[in-house]
């Protein structure tokens, strides 16, 4: 199980290789990519902050949960940190399993959970300013019981 928070470029081939298995008939790869716009504003680049050791821990827990829940052969989750230009990948998820339907479901479930729970933050930098994005899907915003705040 390949789990990594890193300032280096994410390598799709490495992740696909890592989840390869003779019993896998399907591999699904999801890349979260830096887009040139958000909420109607032009984005110049993103800056990612992270709590790397905890982020890796949460990513590993989610990967284990996905493996169990969807019967995966294997799973890789990588998140990049630091300054990312338009078109660069910030998140890379790869899952392998016997059949295709589970590969799509598992990948989608994982990215949704990552957006809620993994302690990583992005700052959008525009021509005329910048702001940390407080994720609308974050545990603290929507999902946490009041007692967890």
């Amino acid at each position: 199980m390949l789990i990594r928070v890193t300032p280096d470029e994410l390598d799709t081939a490495e992740a696909i290789q890592a989840v390869g298995s003779p019993a896998a008939g399907a591999i699904n790869v999801f890349l979260g990519v830096v887009r040139d716009n958000n909420m109607g504003r032009t984005v110049q680049y993103l800056e990612y902050d992270a709590y790397p050791s905890m982020a890796e821990k949460v990513m590993r827990e989610l990967a284990e949960a996905a493996k169990e829940r969807f019967g995966l052969e294997d799973c890789a989750v990588l998140h990049r940190t630091g300054r990312l230009e338009i078109g660069e990948a910030s998140l890379l998820i790869a899952v392998s399993c016997g059949h295709r339907a589970e590969s799509f479901e598992a990948g989608h479930w994982l990215v949704n959970e990552i957006k809620k729970k993994v302690p990583v933050w992005k700052k959008e930098v525009w021509e005329d300013g910048e702001a940390w994005v407080e994720g609308p899907e974050s545990l603290g915003i929507q999902q946490a019981p009041a007692s967890m705040r």
Partner: protein
């Protein structure tokens, strides 16, 4: 006895630091350590309603006890991916 408090993203920017050592005593909870942090950095008060917390890299409740020597992270709404 100390606790190491970690700050990230907007909270780190507002505090002007990413790491603070605070005294910690028996009976301290997440909430009591956080309130001690706010005494030193009152500009963080606005962030509190959406903050989450982690003790030693595990999400924790405000009422959870903070063990001596623990690392307590202030976690603003995450936005990875």
């Amino acid at each position: 006895m100390n606790v190491t408090v970690l700050l990230f993203a907007s909270v780190a920017d507002r505090a002007g630091t990413r790491r603070v050592e605070l005294p910690c005593a028996a009976g301290d909870t997440v909430a009591s350590v956080r309130d001690r942090l706010l005494e030193r950095f009152p500009q963080l008060a606005a962030a509190v309603p959406t903050l989450m917390y982690a003790i030693n890299e595990e999400y924790a409740r405000e009422s959870d006890p903070v063990p001596a020597g623990a690392t307590l992270a202030m976690i603003p709404p995450v936005s990875g991916g």
